[in-house]
């Protein structure tokens, strides 16, 4: 009897496989929301969590293809400093809400390299 390649205990691969390109942006999360970030995949599902990460790591300034986004208003939406974007509010099908800003030329110290980063500011799982 031939051996089947199907293994019911093996999780299905992520649709589309891994992204071909290297991420453009380094993704950071605020320390106070690190624990909530670790809960992203268990709470929203691996596919949604990866779609969020891929979106912010490659093209955080464009509308997300599979989530609803808006720009926060008032002081909460203002850039954190020169070069930073306004605050983007990313909603994962009502299950999670993530606020982030991105900067194309981020420098952690005055003599540090300039590199693009995304800073995840807040995460919450309560429904509005």
């Amino acid at each position: 009897m031939s051996e089947s390649a199907y293994d019911p205990l093996q999780p299905a691969k992520r649709p589309g496989g891994k992204p071909d390109e290297q991420p453009k942006y380094r993704v950071l999360v605020h320390k106070r929301f690190r624990r909530l970030y670790e809960e992203l995949a268990p709470r929203t599902g691996l596919q949604q969590a990866q779609q969020f990460w891929d979106h912010v790591a490659h093209d955080p300034g464009s509308p997300a293809p599979v989530a609803s986004t808006c720009i926060l208003k008032g002081t909460a939406g203002r850039p954190k400093g020169p070069g930073w974007s306004r605050t983007v509010h990313y909603e994962v099908t009502g299950a999670a809400r993530i606020d982030y800003q991105f900067c194309d030329e981020y420098q952690t110290s005055t003599d540090g390299d300039l590199h693009p980063v995304v800073a995840i500011l807040t995460i919450n799982y309560s429904s509005h």
Binding site: P23, R26, V27, L28, V29, H30, K31, R32, F33, R34, Y37, L40, A41, P42, G45, L46, A49, Q50, W53, D54, A57, C70, I71, L72, K73, G74, T75, A76, G77, K80, G81, W84, T87, H89, R97, D99, T108, S109, A119, I120, L121, T122, N124, H128
Partner: protein, 154 residues
Amino acid sequence: MTDTIFQASDLANKRTELLSAARSGLARLRDKDGTSLVMLPESKLRLLEVLSEWSRALLRLEALISRDVTPSISDLGELAWLRVFGAEDLQEFMSDLQASLVAAHADGDVATLDECLHAWRTTARQLEDPLRRSVLLGRHEPADFVEASRPEHE
């Protein structure tokens, strides 16, 4: 405003013309007791209702802000969701609302206004939580951030 005024009997005799006038924007109909009635597309009625509701809200908010005292929740009433915002943000909200009302009137569509209100309401909800509020309104400190790797398992 249309010149044609339909009569109650036209509901049976000139139904097609009446509906056509209503679809085009507005149909006027005189009831048997002389009452003037109008029929218009529901989208137009909604536009008028929304413009009226938010114009009143804007006037009320302007009056509250002009007192130079932070409005209380009871002052704000149905606008109580705005309580999380400081004076500067409230001014920005009023300016945004005014621009969106003008755009909605000009476009004959509430989409711009809905979008504006959605973004402000979303912001208000994010600011309700003290931790989220402190991070969203605080300064950026590089030391506060750590690497967020791509999720690879649930």
